[in-house]
């Protein structure tokens, strides 16, 4: 039996970054808002207690803060000729769970995508011709960099990002990223104090005529009070960011930047440990009535609402749309349907340099404390003579020296035993790593849909991945790895390694939790699931907010752009949609 609850103005699915931003913005307009969160309530003092927050076994290895496959698994295959099988455990990527979502356990790299990303199809076609990108399904996002600037700025000031501007209103700033789009003002906080490894990386790359700059970080370089009046503390560089909650109010998350204000509002409520099963549509299939969810006691509820905001992790947004019949599921054979289209990932590679005479003290670290070189990212360089498009940021961000997982050893070292122990002792402090974070461009054959065989505990089909690294991206990554090898040599260490990205995505080893696309934004309802305001083309009172909206993935971490899109959507709802509710903000 389903209990029908009193109507709300808006129901939000998932209370992470985007859910918290939307909830705050809409409640400011007086809307009565409820958020429904699958996982538990999480708060700094009780859940990220300083006495156990840095428990690597609990959080790093056993992954206490993450989605477990018993709750929801996914199936994967590399191409349509294969049969997808369920992942028995999450490995390649680790979706979050609970209030704060993946924004609790992230490292804090906070990038802005560029105008050449938002208008990527036009940009690359104009510069290199249509044939260069004919194997890729690149699409414009429907917005421009200039249009998004205000929203990027709001997210960065909400989160107290530490960094150095590279371009303020068109004026290049010394020490910042010269390739970034113009920004209206500097970051709210100065860069973090650099540790030795990134300092050395900056020296070496500068000697190669590259342009290193401090990675923009959501680990705070100073005490900060954000525009909502919420105080955050200076990062202590404990080196427990990724996979961990922050005990010190030093890493930006919904908990540290929004919830203290949001939770006090009388027109806001969160229901935790409650999983939304689907969005309920009316008979016309173009209007949502609300959502149906189930709590941990198995009781089912129908929450009627005028607006439905899907703010879960991008992959879950896509699956919920499919399970609810919002839009048509993408078919790679015909190219028709939009939900599941343009799933992208991240094309990463790594390098390590082993020294005899250096001590990097790797345990003095923060998730985003480091230096980046963007000379080979996106379209910052001329691809004219090359056989690919896209690029990668090269990052030296030694985010931790944690005892279980951070054990660099040179090639040829046994995997266990006394020789391994000796090698880890020798290499622990004296190894420098850096990596490329490469773009991931869409192809016709990379997509998401519902698995025909496997179901979850409620009998709903699992999400199915069909993905492999496109040839373009492999060529890109290899070319960037060549550049990394030049950098590695210039360090002058004893030896270096260079791990290259190969074809054949494997869902087991951890790679990146930057799963993008599947409910992409765009200008054409035939090729995008949501319009430029992240409003469903098919069901006008449903908005789908998250990296699911990315029409491709750039060589950058997605959170900054996800946060900006959340503000962009919130503004559209507040300033346009509420005046004329139920209507499309863009006519198809």
């Amino acid at each position: 039996m389903t209990t029908i609850l009193p109507r709300k103005d808006a129901v939000i699915v998932g209370l992470g970054w985007t859910g918290a931003i939307l909830a705050h913005e809409l409640t400011e307009d007086g809307l009565d808002v409820v958020a429904i969160e699958r996982g538990p309530w999480r708060d700094t003092a009780t859940d990220f207690n300083i006495g156990y927050a840095q428990d690597e076994l609990r959080y790093g290895i056993r992954r206490d803060l993450f989605l477990q496959p018993a709750v929801e698994a996914m199936t994967m295959r590399n191409n349509t000729s294969q049969t997808a099988l369920p992942m028995r455990d999450y490995g390649s990527f680790l979706p979050g769970n609970g209030v704060g979502g993946a924004g609790v356990h992230w490292n804090g790299h906070t990038w802005r995508f560029w105008d050449s990303d938002f208008q990527i199809a036009d940009h690359l076609r104009d510069r290199y011709g249509a044939t260069r990108i004919q194997d890729l399904q690149l699409q414009n996002w429907g917005v421009t960099g200039a249009e998004m600037e205000k929203s990027f700025d709001r997210f960065e000031y909400l989160a107290g990002i530490s960094g150095r501007a590279g371009n303020i209103n068109g004026r290049i700033q010394e020490g910042g990223n010269p390739f970034e789009d113009p920004r209206s003002r500097d970051y709210p906080l100065p860069p973090l104090q650099m540790t030795y490894a990134p300092t050395l990386f900056a020296e070496v790359t500068r000697s190669l005529n590259l342009h290193p700059f401090p990675t923009p970080a959501a680990n705070l370089s100073k005490d900060y009070i954000n525009p909502l009046g919420i105080a955050m503390g200076q990062c202590t560089m404990c080196g427990f960011c990724e996979r961990f909650g922050c005990a010190n109010y030093s890493k930006s998350s919904a908990q540290t930047t929004i919830l203290p204000v949001l939770m006090k509002k009388k027109n806001f409520e969160v229901r935790t440990d409650s999983e939304v099963l689907h969005v309920d549509l009316d008979v016309s299939k173009n209007h949502a009535r609300g959502v149906t969810y189930v709590n941990t006691s198995g009781e089912e509820f129908f929450q009627p609402a005028d607006i439905v905001l899907l703010c879960a992790y991008g992959l879950h947004n896509v699956r919920l749309m499919m399970l609810s019949g919002i839009g048509e599921i993408y078919d790679p054979n015909t190219g028709e349907g939009t939900v599941g289209r343009n799933y992208c990932y991240q094309t990463n590679a790594g390098a390590q340099v082993f020294f005899d005479d250096k001590n990097f003290n790797p345990f003095v670290a923060a998730g985003a404390l480091g230096q980046t070189v963007d000379d080979f990212n996106g379209d910052a360089f001329d691809h004219g003579p090359l056989d690919f498009v896209g690029g990668a940021g090269i990052n030296c961000i030694p985010s931790n020296g944690r005892p279980i997982q951070t054990r660099p050893t040179p090639p040829g070292t046994p995997r266990w035993g006394s020789d391994w122990k000796k090698a880890t002792v020798k290499s622990y402090k004296s190894t420098l790593g850096f990596s490329s974070q490469g773009s991931s461009y869409p192809t016709r054959g990379n997509y998401l849909d519902l698995d025909p065989t496997y179901t979850d505990r409620f009998g709903r089909p699992l999400l199915r991945f069909t993905f492999d690294f496109p040839d373009n991206d492999i060529r890109m990554s290899n070319w960037v790895s060549d550049r990394m090898e030049e950098i590695a040599k210039a360090f002058g260490g004893r030896q270096y390694t260079n791990t290259r990205r190969k074809k054949g995505w494997d869902s087991v080893p951890y790679q990146s939790t930057h799963n993008t696309g599947g409910a992409i934004m765009g200008t054409d309802p035939k090729t995008s699931a949501v319009n430029k305001y992240l409003q469903s083309w098919d069901v006008a009172n449903v908005f789908v907010i998250g990296a699911s909206a990315f029409a491709h993935n750039a060589g950058k971490n997605p959170t900054g752009t996800v946060g900006a899109l959340a503000y962009h959507t919130a503004d559209a709802i507040r300033q346009q949609y509420l005046r004329n509710p139920g209507q499309p903000l863009v006519s198809a």
Binding site: T44, N49, I50, Y52, D223, G233, A247, N248, P260
Partner: protein
């Protein structure tokens, strides 16, 4: 005789006729003023239980003599004070004798409220009549024999109670007098912050010099710069009362509740007046003892624990971080004669209150599960004797008693 009755009736008729026209705004004014008196007196702190309807009865107060449950003071006739007259109410506040001559226990701070002016009490009464009546039977008196005999309060009053309205000191400023009135009268600060005699009365010779209650130590709030608030500027006192945080400390326990429900809602002028008055008061030890040397074994253990567990937030130098983590260096709270509050904070943790000016509500996590009694004692001894602090050491048995 009949003539007198007649003229009184006339006068009453004239009055009630006028009430509908001219006096309604006055009455509204009175109610608004009364509501402010309820804020000054923080009635809700005791008389409203969490999640309950306002003033419908509170959570039990643990006194050294037993439990007292703050009664329902809504105008409900059956279970509240709906049958009371204004005179009953005035008498309860002024003398501790309520409706039907029933004697109150001084957990109801009538020894402070006796100092309130008739006008303030009248306004408060007007406001209380407007509160929603709630049916909620409360038996206030849960005390064991012989304390459950209300008449015994007659003797208590003879020994401990001084009747009488606040008398301004003409040699002081109006602001000082206003502050003294609030602190001694409606604000009843001494109810927590003054040490108690064996009979549970305020130790009138040591007002505001710190007292223990309900598992917390309400610190010295005199102008004493070692254990009191003398090292805080007037602005810092104001900021503390308005927001619960001022860089030196973050309110916890009953004071956090008092700030949320009372002082943060007071007018700026009243909070400044309180600060002016408190700064002028004196009391408690002014000479710091010699700190326990860093070479002491307890200090060495405490330093190790501090650097492992505490320094990430409170800083290696004990300076904390404004709004988020209270400073320990130079903190008078840390150097109180009693470590009761500190012990409680370490064992159980505490969360800052949400006020309009300080919204973050940062929290001290509970560490009782992690540290033994001896470790808590060592780390408290360390923070009480580092960075210029000096205060008596803390023993493991003190910690065990508070688990």
């Amino acid at each position: 005789m009949s003539r007198i009755v007649f003229s009184l009736t006339l006068a009453a008729t004239a009055l009630s006729a006028g009430l509908a026209l001219a006096q309604a705004p006055d009455q509204a004014d009175q109610i608004i003023r009364g509501r402010y008196q309820a804020i000054l007196g923080d009635c809700a702190a005791c008389h409203t239980a969490p999640e309950a309807k306002p003033l419908s009865g509170g959570l039990p107060l643990e006194t050294p003599f037993g439990q007292i449950i703050p009664p329902n003071i809504t105008p409900d006739k059956a279970t509240g004070i709906g049958n009371w007259t204004e005179a009953d109410f005035r008498s309860a506040l002024k003398t501790g004798i309520g409706h039907d001559g029933k004697r109150l226990y001084p957990a109801m701070p009538y020894p402070a409220y006796t100092k309130m002016t008739d006008r303030d009490i009248g306004n408060l009464w007007s406001y209380l009549r407007t509160v929603d009546p709630v049916f909620n039977p409360v038996e206030a008196n849960q005390l064991p024999f012989p304390f459950n005999i209300r008449l015994s309060m007659m003797g208590w009053n003879m020994l401990n109670f001084t009747l009488g309205e606040f008398q301004p000191d003409p040699s002081k400023s109006a602001e000082w007098n206003r502050g003294a009135y609030i602190v001694q009268g409606p604000g009843h600060c001494g109810t927590c912050h003054s040490p108690k005699t064996a009979l549970g009365a305020d130790e009138t010779s040591e007002p505001l010099q710190g007292g223990s209650l309900q598992g917390w130590y309400a610190p010295n709030i005199t102008g004493n710069s070692y254990v009191g608030i003398g090292s805080w500027s007037e602005e810092e006192i104001v900021r503390y009362l308005k927001t619960g945080t001022n860089g030196h400390t973050i309110a916890s326990g009953p004071m956090a509740e008092a700030i949320q429900a009372s002082t943060s809602l007071m007018t700026d002028a009243d909070v400044h007046a309180i600060a002016t008055y408190l700064k002028s008061t004196e009391g408690g030890p002014t000479q710091k003892p010699q700190p326990i040397p860093a070479s002491d074994a307890r200090m060495k253990v405490g330093a190790a624990i501090y650097h492992d567990t505490c320094s990430a937030c409170h800083g290696g130098d004990g300076k904390g971080a404004n709004q988020l983590f209270p400073a320990l260096a130079g903190s008078s709270i840390v150097q109180q004669p009693s470590a009761e509050t500190l012990t409680r904070l370490v064992l159980q943790g505490s969360q800052a209150v949400h006020t309009p000016e300080a919204k973050t509500t940062p929290a001290m996590p509970s560490l009782g599960w992690r540290l033994t009694d001896a470790q808590v004692a060592a780390v408290l001894t360390y923070v009480r004797n580092s960075w210029g602090n000096a205060a008596p050491s803390v023993g493991a048995s003190d910690i065990g008693a508070q688990r």
